[in-house]
């Protein structure tokens, strides 16, 4: 058996520095990709779609639009807890395109924070329900209890049907 039959391990041994450089570059690439894809870890919602303020989001043949965000003193007769405020989102909804049995979830986004809606919320004429009743047309009002120190960070409403959609807006 002659040495040339084992030449590839010998070549590998003699090109150690090059092999190390290739390995380090590959590791840096893999590390960079890993850290980049981990950038949203820990965030509760990563919106798949962002709807600009005042714009309408299409829901099949229907639509939904964030009309305004405003402060409310009480919800169902109850004031907010100490150092907190109620923020109410008013939406104009045409849910004719919503599949039967589909429901909606609303969250208020303030920077990195997100807040679930308070258990009860009122609706104006015609009334809509928490399940985003398919086929309904009207106004939805959803309220959120937010620490007062975060009011200036409120940047919109997260709507979740299939995936999170951020409907941008500021408190007026």
């Amino acid at each position: 058996m002659t040495g040339q039959n084992f030449s590839w391990p010998q070549r590998l041994a003699s090109r150690g520095a090059r092999m190390l450089l290739i390995g380090v570059l590959a590791a840096l690439l893999a590390s960079g990709a890993w850290l980049y894809l981990a950038r949203n870890d820990g965030r509760r919602f990563v919106p798949a779609t962002v709807v600009a303020a005042g714009q309408t989001y299409r829901l099949g043949t229907g639509s939904i639009r964030l009309n305004r965000l405003y402060l409310t003193e009480k919800v169902d007769g109850w004031p907010p807890v100490n150092q907190a405020s109620f923020v109410t989102a008013e939406l104009r909804a045409d849910l004719s395109g919503l599949p039967s049995g589909q429901s909606c979830l609303f969250f208020l986004q303030a920077g990195e924070y997100s807040f679930a809606s308070v258990p009860s919320y009122a609706s104006l004429d015609p009334p809509l329900y928490g399940r985003c009743e398919p086929g309904a047309l009207g106004t939805i009002q959803v309220s959120f209890e937010v620490p007062s120190r975060l009011l200036d960070k409120v940047d919109g409403l997260i709507l979740i049907i299939d995936e999170p959609v951020l409907m941008a807006g500021r408190i007026s």
């Binding site: 058996m1 040495g3 039959n5 084992f6 590839w8 391990p9 010998q10 590998l12 041994a13 090109r15 150690g16 520095a17 090059r18 092999m19 190390l20 450089l21 290739i22 390995g23 380090v24 590959a26 590791a27 690439l29 893999a30 590390s31 990709a33 890993w34 850290l35 894809l37 981990a38 870890d41 820990g42 509760r44 907010p80 807890v81 100490n82 150092q83 907190a84 920077g111 990195e112 924070y113 997100s114 807040f115 679930a116 209890e145 937010v146 620490p147 007062s148 120190r149 975060l150």
Partner: protein, 635 residues
């Protein structure tokens, strides 16, 4: 006594040789070794990352991505093994064995050849060690964490839908047939290397199909058979046997089985079996030349003549096969078609293991000790780095896991692969030293002396005792990490990852007023005013338990303690119903954060807040106490 001294001397000599040669090899080849291991790590992590990202788009594609990633990593490991063996001069040593054309081996001519010949058995044993399963588990966890739902497992669950079941069975059957039919294609193909690599990818993909979904078919069958009346008959027979004997035979068998399976078995397998299997695995890259070396030693003459019992049996089987006709011939061919693949995997490893086991007690003991020390060091390194990083939420551990894995896969496994190659080379050198034809490459400073038969037993026992002591010492050191516990007294705020907790002085009472009702107990109630604050955007469930001695108590009203949403503080009185004997100085409340994911946890911060109780508080207990309503505020 002299035999014992000789055994210890030889053991020490072998250990010094293994450690010294490993260190010298690492010093000489650290650059290409580190480069290869980093390449393998990159392939591993890159494929996991890519697989987790494509889960929502194409779950079945995960199988191919993982297979290619794992093959790439195994390829770098094989290259490391071959590189080190070349540096030690093993190929030149093996070249002098007189196997002739029968010893020609494709492993010698190129990396691709090495891959196609060695990768299949290597993959099989790698899977047996659980690496493939761990690989698949990481993708499942990562995709579940980032996508919020176990899409991968449900998409590949054959029990989920008839379509998935059909596809699963078709893929498994097609893969099996492909494995059987590819060998004649390889022989006739103009691109045997490419086809060989395709074969390996198919094998690896089949392994992942089984791991990610196919196992459910087995589970369903297992569940079905476990509900058969047959097991009821077994139970009845066991009940009847109890009446025949003065002792409970089924219980005795169960106890003996439990000791064997849960204590003795794992100790023997992990401590002794695992290192030897790893060594046999490393030997697969050396091929039939290594085995011929063992034959040379055993026979004392060139291989080819039948002198051993095993060779007589093989020759007879060969004759029977050549004489087989009709149905017997068809049966033999069918047997070869369906089970011939076993030759490439299990038998190769088995022969490799047999060679290692014949290398002598001092070598075996030294290798097991060296491997154990390395393995132990790897576990402790992992432990101490985790402790250094401290308790963190799960998003931190998901993010740093590849870099912690780098320490293990690149540094510690790199050293392990070198040790395995050095050890296997030493085993072959031991055989070479017993012949006149072959010059050994690794020679111990105190070579083994010819030992009288009566002293062989003494040598074996001495080595076994020393090795056993090392194994026991290594297993006695804890390798599992619980949580990082932060302790404090009452009215001291303590951090638990993204949240803060604090308790006030507890009250002890014989009854409590809660939700308009009076609740009494045969023990006592311990009422703990607690404050939970979630200052940042991430917060989740916080569980509270009262711990005293060996006992743990959950709150009476709920399994969950006060949980403050992000930006809020919650004040709540937690009520525990406690045995009066546990009202003592040891009593404390443990707050455990679940963070953003209630299922996945890493090494996290946990708070244990001392209640400052004493046994006389039981005698001074309040007759009743009212539980205050919880309060929230923003902060």
């Amino acid at each position: 006594m002299l035999a014992v001294q000789n055994a210890v001397s030889e053991l020490g000599s072998e250990l010094r040789l293994l450690a010294g040669t490993t260190a010298a090899t690492l010093g000489r080849l650290w650059m290409p070794l580190l480069g290869l291991m980093l390449l393998g790590w990159s392939a591993n992590e890159g494929s996991i990352l890519l697989a987790a990202e494509i889960v929502p788009v194409w779950p079945w594609g995960v199988v191919v991505v993982l297979a290619i990633g794992m093959i790439a990593q195994l390829a770098t490991i094989l290259a490391v093994l071959r590189l080190v063996s070349g540096h030690l001069g093993v190929p030149e040593m093996l070249a002098t064995t007189s196997m002739g054309p029968a010893g020609e081996d494709q492993r010698d001519t190129g990396l691709l050849q090495l891959l196609t010949v060695s990768l299949l058995p290597f993959l099989a044993i790698y899977a047996a060690f659980g690496f493939v399963r761990d690989y698949a588990a990481r993708v499942t966890i990562l995709s579940g964490y980032r996508r919020g739902s176990p899409e991968l497992l449900s998409a590949l669950n054959p029990l989920q839908s008839p379509t998935t079941m059909t596809w699963m069975l078709v893929i498994l059957a097609a893969g099996y047939l492909f494995k059987k039919l590819i060998d004649p294609w390889l022989a006739r193909s103009k691109h045997p290397l490419l086809l060989g690599l395709v074969q390996v990818v198919v094998e690896a993909s089949l392994a992942f199909v089984v791991l990610l979904g196919g196992f459910r078919i087995y589970e369903a069958i297992d569940l079905w058979q476990s509900e058969r009346a047959f097991w009821g008959w077994i139970d009845q027979a066991a009940q009847w046997s109890r009446t025949l004997l003065p002792f409970d035979l089924p219980a005795a068998i169960a106890l003996a089985w439990a000791v064997l399976v849960r204590q003795v078995g794992p100790f023997l397998f992990d401590g002794v079996g695992r290192p030897l299997l790893w060594l046999a695995m490393a030997g697969l890259v050396f091929g039939p030349r290594a085995l011929s070396l063992a034959e040379l030693w055993q026979l004392g003459e060139p291989a080819g003549e039948i002198t051993t019992r095993r060779e007589r049996i093989l020759a007879k089987l060969r004759q029977d096969t050549e004489r087989a006709r009709g149905v017997r011939l068809v049966a033999l061919k069918a047997q070869r078609f369906f089970f011939g693949g076993v030759d490439a995997t299990v038998l190769g490893a088995w022969q490799s293991l047999r060679l290692v086991l014949r290398a002598g007690w001092p070598f075996l003991g030294a290798f097991v000790i060296a491997f154990t020390v390395l393995d132990f060091s790897a576990d402790q390194l992992d432990l101490w780095v985790t402790r250094l990083l401290g308790g963190q939420p799960i998003r931190f551990w998901i993010r740093v896991y590849p870099f912690l894995d780098l320490l293990h896969l690149v540094v510690m496994m790199g050293i392990t692969w070198v040790l395995l190659t050095v050890a296997y080379s030493r085993a072959m050198s031991i055989f070479a030293a017993r012949t006149d034809e072959v010059e050994p490459v690794l020679v111990a400073a105190a070579p083994g002396r010819k030992t009288a038969l009566r002293d062989v037993g003494t040598k074996a026992i001495t080595v076994a005792v020393i090795t056993g002591l090392v194994l026991v010492a290594a297993s006695a050191v804890p390798t599992k990490l619980g949580d990082e516990i932060n302790t404090a007294q009452v009215l001291t705020s303590v951090g638990i990852n993204d949240q803060q907790v604090l308790i006030d002085k507890p009250r002890v009472a014989k009854s409590v007023q809660m939700y308009g009702k009076t609740v009494t107990t045969a023990g006592v109630f311990v009422v703990v005013p607690a404050v939970v604050h979630t200052p940042g955007p991430v917060g989740g469930l916080v569980s509270a338990q009262l711990v005293s001695g060996q006992n743990t108590y959950l709150p009476v009203d709920s399994a969950l303690a006060p949980t403050a949403s992000p930006g809020f503080v919650l004040l709540e009185e937690i009520v525990f119903e406690v045995d009066p004997a546990d009202v003592n100085a040891d009593a404390r409340v443990r707050f455990t954060p679940y963070g953003e994911d209630p299922v996945l946890q890493g090494y996290r911060e946990v708070a244990e807040l001392w209640l400052g109780l004493s046994p006389d508080r039981v005698g001074d207990a309040l007759a009743t106490t009212e539980i205050a309503a919880s309060q929230r505020m923003a902060k």
